[in-house]
């Protein structure tokens, strides 16, 4: 099963990359962009036996730095029931 992990900077944490992208969009003439936040997408292919708790643990132990980042887990197919 494919799982998407979206990692993004917490609100209030300065996103200098997002700011640079925002500035570049403006210099290219794109108006009306209010804010840009850049994050990352980590795509996992996992066995069906991998639980949401397992995925949470992966995020908290490695995939995200909880000091500065939030994460969101998105299963790409319906999860099978784990007994």
């Amino acid at each position: 099963m494919k799982v998407h992990i979206h990692v993004s900077l917490k609100p209030g944490v300065l996103d200098s990359q997002g700011r640079a992208i925002h500035h570049k969009l403006e210099t290219l003439g794109f108006d009306g962009v209010n804010d840009v936040r850049a994050g990352k997408l980590i795509e996992l292919d996992v066995d069906d036996s991998v639980t949401d708790d397992d995925l949470d643990a992966m995020c908290q132990k490695l995939l995200a730095n909880m000091v500065i980042e939030n994460y969101r887990i998105e299963r790409q197919e319906p999860a099978k029931e784990n007994a």
Binding site: V13, L14, S16, Q17, A20, L62, L63, N65, V67, I68
Partner: protein, 225 residues
């Protein structure tokens, strides 16, 4: 008594040799060189250095992979027993990622790599790393990093300041760090992480000797112990 120190090398470390040279120059004894995949450190260490570089190519986040390598369990264990641990640059990133120090090092606010000698204010001259300096003294140490922008939440920053755990502060705008923090100590005072490179300022030919006192004081502290 010989000074027993160790320098950890990760894949992508590039300041490990400089660190080893500095430790040998100041202490008179060459450090052990320890590979990241080792499970154990040499026994009875007096000092552990986590050097600069680009461990694991900065994949995922700077220091993230190295912080979870086998040797770091031993480093965390040793730090908990009071062994002095110095993390410089990528080493500082590794120490925050491993949880030994609070906060995180983010991309420089300018998005640019910064590589120059910067003035630092010594904020805490009581620690075993900084007792060779005067509080409030200005020292000049080189920086060379892309991810040195220190971040912690306000409560953590207030606690660090209140407990005297800000060791060094930048005196000009270097990387966007919260409160210009360049180096922080752990609660017990035996772990220091700093972005500037003291090992690059231990020889007149480096252009300055301001890093010498940091190593010298750690060596002297051991001799007195």
């Amino acid at each position: 008594m010989a000074f027993r120190s160790a320098v950890i090398t990760f894949p992508g470390s590039n300041c490990d040799r400089d660190m080893a040279v500095a430790l040998e120059k100041v202490s008179g004894t060459a450090p052990f060189r320890v590979w990241h995949g080792d499970a154990d450190l040499p026994e009875k260490l007096d000092f552990i250095a986590v050097p600069g570089g680009f461990s694991y190519g900065d994949y995922l986040r700077s220091g993230a992979m190295a912080a979870r390598s086998p040797i770091m369990n031993a480093v965390i264990d040793a730090a908990g027993k009071g062994v002095p641990v110095l993390g410089v640059c990528n080493g500082f990133q590794v120490l925050t990622e491993s949880g030994l120090l609070p906060g995180a090092l983010m991309r420089n606010a300018s998005q640019n790599f910064v590589c120059r000698t910067v003035p630092l204010k010594v904020e805490n001259s009581q620690s075993l790393f900084t007792a060779g300096y005067e509080a409030g003294e200005t020292i000049h140490i080189p920086v060379a990093h892309h991810d040195g922008n220190y971040f912690a939440d306000e409560a953590t920053l207030d606690r660090l300041e209140g407990e005297g755990r800000v060791a060094f502060r930048y005196q000009d705008a270097v990387n966007g760090s919260q409160r210009d923090i360049a180096g922080v100590l752990n609660a017990a005072g035996n772990v220091l992480g700093m972005m500037p490179h003291p090992e690059r300022a231990v020889d007149e030919r480096h252009g300055g000797m301001d890093g010498w006192a940091l190593f010298e004081n750690a060596v002297n502290a051991l001799a007195k112990a």
